[in-house]
Every structure is written in C-alpha cells, then in structure tokens.
C-alpha cells in the first residue's frame, strides 16, 4: 500500500489547478454552458496540449500510459472547475472501450485521433425502460450482406450532440425484452438514418436522444466480439463510474471550502455563523463525509483496473453508492448552510449542487448500486 502521489502526479495536479483557476472561472463557465455546443473547442485543444486527452492510452497510439489514479486527479480537478467538456464521454468511456475492446485496426484508426483531440465520441447504450440495467438492450442489429442494419432508440446519451462517432450497443441475439446477445458498433453520427436530438442537462452539460432508423454499417463497424460486448461495456461504464466518483469528490471538497468560508464570514446575531455549534457539527459531518468519499473514490480508481471482473464490479458499485450518499449529504448541507445564497443561480454553490445531483443519477443511482452490492452479498 502506498498513500502518496508521485512527483509526476503532483505536477499534473498543479497544472490542472492552474488551468481551472485561469480558464474556468464562474462567469466563463456560465457563458460556455449557455453557448450553442455547451463547451469550448479551445479548451479541448488545451486538453490535448496538456496531454489530458492522451492520458489513458498506450504510447503506441500517441497516449501517455496514464493509470487510474492519474484519471482520478484529472476528474477531481474537473469537478472543482465544473468542467463542461465531454471528457468523460469521449476519453474515459468511449476511448476506454476502443482501447480495451477494439481491434488493432480500430485502435490505430481512432485512439491517436482521440489523444490528439481531433475526434469526439459518445457511448449510446442506455435505453428508456431499461432504467440503469446495463444488460438490457432493445436496439436491434441485423446482419445485412457483409454489414449490419441498426434500428432503435438510445436515451440520454452524454455528449451525444458533439460526438463525431457513436458507439452503439445493439442486440444481435433473439431474446425478448432486450435480453440476448449484445454487440457494439461504431457509427458515424452523420450517417443516414441517425438522428441526434441534443439538449441541455440540469448541470449545464449536454446529452442527446439518439434514434437509429435502419442505419447501415459495414462489417468493420463491429467493435469487440459479436454477441459478447457486454463485459467491455460494463468495464467502460466502471471506468466512467470511477471518474464520476473522483469528480464528485472534487466538487465536495470545493463545496466544503466555500461553506467553511461562508461560515467564517457571514455574520448574524453579532458573530460569524460558524460560531454556532449546530452549524459547526454539520460542517464537521460534511468534512467526514468527504474524507470517507475520497477513500472510496480512490478505491474505485484502483479497482477499475482490477483483472477480476467480479471484484471490480463489487468495488465500483460500492463506490458509486457510497460516494453518492456522501455527495447527496454534502450537497444538500452546503446549500442549507448557505441559506438563501445556496439556492440562487448567481453563486456557484447551486451549480456544484446540481452537478453532484446529476452525477448521482448518471450510470446508476445510489439505490441501484447499493442494490447490486447488496445482492452480491448473496454470492459472497
């Protein structure tokens, strides 16, 4: 066990902190969130220059061979800055899928473009009615000559509007109700039959409803084994969960700083409200919750790479559930302790709170993952 960051990691932290402080001020971010695409292509170029888009890929593909703790540091900083760029969608989830499940040709074709910031991707997997269940896919792929024809609907595709290509999961088996065999396909988002309805999300981001209406793709669009994409999708989502946990911890730390500062400066009844013991103890509970969440987010990062899929799934569901609970508490209490200032748009507290809330919902909410973790106790 080792609880220290490497020198390189400390340097990465400093770099990220500088970027957030300089280019991600509250007003700058607000303007971005309201802009047409909802983020900045200039920032994305900066990400590429800083090596962030290259972080989790092998050097052969222009990557930096970063590990899960490196990604954790990036996401923690992004949490603090409430970064809007679709790093999670493109680099961590979709990039991770191509890295782990793509053929050498697919890796060669796409990873360098992601690493250099030229290509944006999104995983179009979840469907309405499946709720958070990963194994449930109704979208159908039918073999068609040498290629495939895809039809179906995907819901709340993160970063779907900005993606050049979509990774679309589809059922290539025969089971009813979305069971059966799942395969993954790389689909150009401009392909005939693909319609993407992009919209704002509650946290200032973007997501999309994606419809596929008899979309034809070639044989080379298949990513990973036919009928056997589910393990890779689960793994990619687990990378996403680890990233979300780290982002949440970054936000919680920022909210705690803001709240502590408010307690020390806001005066009522002739003294800083931080003199009131009930509020002191609440603040202490927030700090403890954040420390505990940080521990679990670290576990999530380390275990996202675990070779044993069952152990990985157990740790990632544990982390998503637990970090979610702490995030909910810290977010709600940060708002409460800020009083009226906590519920207005003009202060960053409400934006942190909204992002935390949406993180909790993304890729399975607290109850869903607690349930998965709990059900795994039966096997243990």
């Amino acid at each position: 066990m080792d609880f220290n960051y490497t020198d390189e990691q400390n340097a990465l932290r400093d770099t990220l902190a500088r970027f957030i402080a300089k280019d991600y001020g509250f007003e700058q971010r607000r303007a971005l969130a309201k802009s047409d695409i909802g983020f900045s292509r200039d920032h994305w170029k900066q990400f590429a220059e800083l090596g962030l888009t290259a972080l989790p890929f092998a050097e052969d593909f222009g990557g930096l061979n970063g590990n899960a703790v490196d990604t954790m540091l990036v996401m923690e900083a992004f949490g603090r800055g409430l970064v809007l760029e679709p790093y999670l969608a493109t680099v961590i989830v979709a990039g991770g899928l191509i890295r782990d499940a793509g053929s050498p040709a697919q890796q060669e074709a796409h990873l360098p473009s992601i690493a250099s910031g030229k290509l944006m991707l999104a995983l179009a997997h979840y469907e309405r009615g499946a709720r958070y269940k990963v194994s449930r896919v109704d979208t159908a792929a039918k073999a068609d000559g040498g290629g495939w024809t895809l039809s179906g609907s995907k819901g709340v595709v993160l970063g779907g509007g900005a993606a050049d290509k979509l990774l679309v999961s589809a059922n290539t088996g025969k089971g009813p109700n979305g069971t059966g065999a799942i395969s993954l396909f790389l689909v150009d988002s401009k392909a005939a039959g693909v319609s993407v309805r992009s919209y704002m999300t509650q946290d200032g981001g973007r997501a999309a409803e994606v419809r596929l209406d008899k979309v034809s793709v070639g044989a080379d669009a298949l990513l990973g084994p036919k009928d056997g994409a589910l393990p890779a999708i689960e793994r990619a989502l687990d990378y996403g969960i680890a990233a979300l946990c780290a982002e949440a911890v970054g936000i919680m730390a920022a909210l705690n700083e803001a709240t502590l500062e408010y307690l020390k400066t806001r005066k009522q009844f002739g003294q800083p409200i931080g003199r009131f013991q009930a509020l002191q103890h609440r603040m202490v509970d927030m700090v403890i919750a954040t420390e505990q969440a940080r521990s679990m987010a670290t576990l999530a990062a380390v275990k996202a790479d675990a070779p044993d899929a069952a152990a990985r799934r157990r740790a990632l569901s544990a982390a998503k559930a637990y970090v979610g609970q702490q995030a909910r508490f810290v977010g709600q209490q940060a708002v409460q302790l800020h009083g009226g200032m906590g519920v207005v748009d003009e202060l960053n507290v409400s934006h942190y709170f909204k992002r935390l809330t949406m993180i909790n919902i993304t890729f399975g909410d607290t109850d869903y993952h607690l349930g998965l973790f709990s059900d795994m106790l039966l096997a243990a």
């Binding site: 709340v156 704002m200 409460q336 207005v344 748009d345 409400s350 919902i361 349930g371």
Partner: protein
C-alpha cells in the same frame, strides 16, 4: 380523542370537492398538475373564483370576510384544493399581512386593505429580509425617516417572492437607532408604484424568476400607512412569523405530491416492470408516507390546540420542520424516479403552450428543477435551524 371524520365533516368534504371542481378553471389545474409555469393571472383568477363563492379567506374570522372555519375544515379545504390541482393561495396577503392588519392595523387600514386582499384586487409581497439580515432579522438596516406626513424609505430588501407582480409590499424598516435593535423597527405598507422602488430579479437554481431584490431610494410613504405604533414593528413581525408557520406544514399539498409520486412510480419502468415493484424504491415511498401520516395528525393536534388558545405558539415550528422535510423528500423521490431522464433540462417545456415533444415521459420536465427549488423550504420562513432554536428556547427552556 377520535381521528375519524364525523359525518358532518365528511359532508363538508363532499361539498368542498364539488365546489372546487366547479369553479377551478381547467387550464389552471392542468398547469398545476403538469408542473407548468403559472402566470400572475392564474393566481388571481383562482382567488377571484374562490371569493365569488365566499371562500376567499378560509383562515380569516367571519368579521373580516373570512369563513371562520375550524382547523379540521381548513385542513379538508386545503387537501381538496391540492388534490384538484388548484394553485396555492399566496400567503403574503392572506396569511401574512392580513393577520397583522386585523390585529394591529387602523380601522381605515382594515376597511381598505382586507377586502382588496380577499377579492384578489391587491397582490402583496414581503419586505422583511435584507442581504445582511436573514436569520438575524432584527439587525435590518432599511431606514424610514419621518418627514411631515410621510416617511422617506431608503434601503434594500431581498428574498422577495413574486414581488415582480406585486401591488403592495409590507416592510420592516428602521425608524430609530436607539435602544435595542428590536425597539427601533416599524411596520410599513408601501405601494409598489411609488417612485424610487426598483425590483431586480434573482434567478433561482432552477433557472426561474421567482424572487427579487427590492431597492428603495427616497421612497415617500404616507404616514397613514404605518401599522400600529412607530418602533413597535418587531412585535407585529413576530406575530406575523407565527401566523406564517401555521400554514407551512403543507399536508394537503404533500398528499397530492405523494399521490403524483406513486403515479410516476407505477408508470416508470425498471427493466420492464413498474418501478413501484422495486422494493427499494417502494420502501422509500413508504417511509415518506409514514412521515406524512404522522404529520397530518400532529398538524391537526397542534392547530386544534392553537385554536383553543386563539394564538399560534412555538409548536408550529414542529410543523415547519417536518413539513418542509417531507416536501423535500417527495420532490427528491419524484426526480429519482425518472432515472437518467432526470438529466434533461428543457425550460421551454414548462410553458403551458409549448408544443414540442418531451424528452422522456411527459411529466418529467419540471421534476429536477422542482427538487432543486424546494431546497428553499428548509431555509425560508425562518430556517429549520432557527425553528429548532425557537423550540429549544420557547418550549424547552434551554
């Protein structure tokens, strides 16, 4: 001790239900049930419709044009209105300034203002909090100087709800800096059309314009708009806060919201089965229903006891605390029920006449914003921490 409704009370409920169904405009209830934005006119039409039937002020004594109903009757009325999808009767006139005018206002003020509140002519808003004076209200700084037959008001108020529509504002202002802070405060009624008043919107965390800052710059207010005595305003302010809390349990609204939550949970699918069949989610609904069942009875116990004493007491703080916690819990579960579809933010979908296609279910659009917005309920009207201070001091003697 009997928690069952008497036959008379059951008949009363049937009457209320019938009348509300008859007079509540369908377009308004559709907005309320669909979580759409309400216009000023929606509130006013509903108030006028109630007034036309003599039910404009169910919490007032008959001598001022109220119905003089018992606590049980009021509870039934609130429950039926909520279930029917009626808009909230805004409390600023009916439940806040009106009791103060009744208790401390001049005959002239009573004759002029009260009928215009109950018939929906005047829209009132509140001028209590200031940026530096929230929980510590008595530290307020907005100043009124007596000059001849009027006061000149300067200063700033904040957390002013729906003041953008208001005809009148009731204000706490400082008329003296001598003695204890509390002793230099007066209670003024101010026409919002008076020159020198500026209303600046504050956007809430759901992106909506619900509250405001109000600025006063040399605003001339006739001295006859002073309520009661100069420098005695703190007494009236505390009286008002007591009255404000009594309505705040919101049991009827929460029952309707719980009903809506159950409908959603029966409609949303979780892996092809209704979400309601998910034991974990269902248990959360069950838990909040237990809280609400208890609060409904506690509410009636407290209100009945107060009716006997003729004045609201610190027990009302219990209703504020539990009521607001329950409202938040239901709002959170409504959002949680949506799964990933809690993420989309389509403010345009809150317009009643929006013709677009919803993202996800048709009830989805307002729910996340509602959850964010409702964080206010444990903050406003005296934060729940302040309510606990009140109970600790006034009930427990700590």
């Amino acid at each position: 001790m009997d928690l069952n409704y008497t036959p008379e009370e059951q008949a009363f409920r049937a009457e209320v239900r019938k009348l509300v169904a008859a007079i509540l405009p369908a377009d308004i209830s559709a907005k309320v049930k669909g979580g759409k934005r309400l216009a000023k006119d929606d509130f006013v039409r509903w108030q006028k419709a109630l007034h036309a039937k003599g039910w404009g002020a169910t919490m007032w004594p008959t001598k001022f044009g109220g119905t003089g109903w018992s606590a049980v009757q009021q509870h039934i009325f609130e429950e039926e209105c909520a279930e029917a999808g009626a808009p909230l009767q805004l409390p600023f006139g009916l439940k806040m300034v009106a009791p103060v005018i009744m208790a401390f206002g001049s005959k002239g003020q009573q004759d002029h203002f009260l009928p215009r509140i109950v018939d929906g002519s005047d829209w009132w808003c509140q001028g209590y909090s200031e940026p530096g004076s929230g929980s510590d209200l008595a530290s307020l700084k907005a100043k009124a100087e007596r000059q001849g037959d009027h006061y000149v008001v300067n200063g700033q108020k904040t957390w002013n709800t729906l003041g953008q529509y208001a005809d009148w504002i009731f204000c706490l202002v400082r008329t003296s800096s001598e003695g204890r802070q509390q002793e230099g405060i007066s209670f003024l009624l101010i026409d919002m059309k008076t020159p020198g008043i500026t209303v600046r919107p504050i956007i809430m965390n759901d992106g909506e314009h619900e509250i405001n800052e109000v600025w006063f710059e040399d605003v001339k207010v006739p001295a006859q708009n002073l309520v009661g005595e100069e420098n005695k305003g703190w007494t009236y302010a505390k009286f008002l806060l007591g009255h404000e809390r009594t309505g705040i349990a919101g049991v009827g609204r929460s029952k309707a919201a719980l009903h809506h939550l159950k409908d959603i949970a029966r409609t949303e699918l979780s892996y092809d089965k209704p979400l309601m069949e998910d034991v974990r989610f269902r248990d959360r609904i069950a838990q909040v229903e237990l809280e609400l069942m208890a609060l409904e009875i506690t509410n009636m116990r407290v209100l009945s006891a107060e009716k006997d004493k003729k004045a609201p007491g610190p027990e009302a703080s219990i209703l504020k605390i539990k009521g607001s916690e329950i409202q938040q819990a239901i709002a959170e579960l409504q959002m949680q029920a949506l799964g990933h579809y809690a993420l989309p933010w389509l403010p345009e979908a809150l317009d009643a006449d929006w013709q677009g296609k919803p993202v996800g279910a048709d009830y989805a659009a307002p729910l996340s914003g509602h959850y964010f917005n409702y964080r206010k309920t444990t903050i406003y009207g005296g934060s729940n921490e302040i309510q606990k201070n009140i109970i600790a001091q006034m009930i427990l003697g700590l």
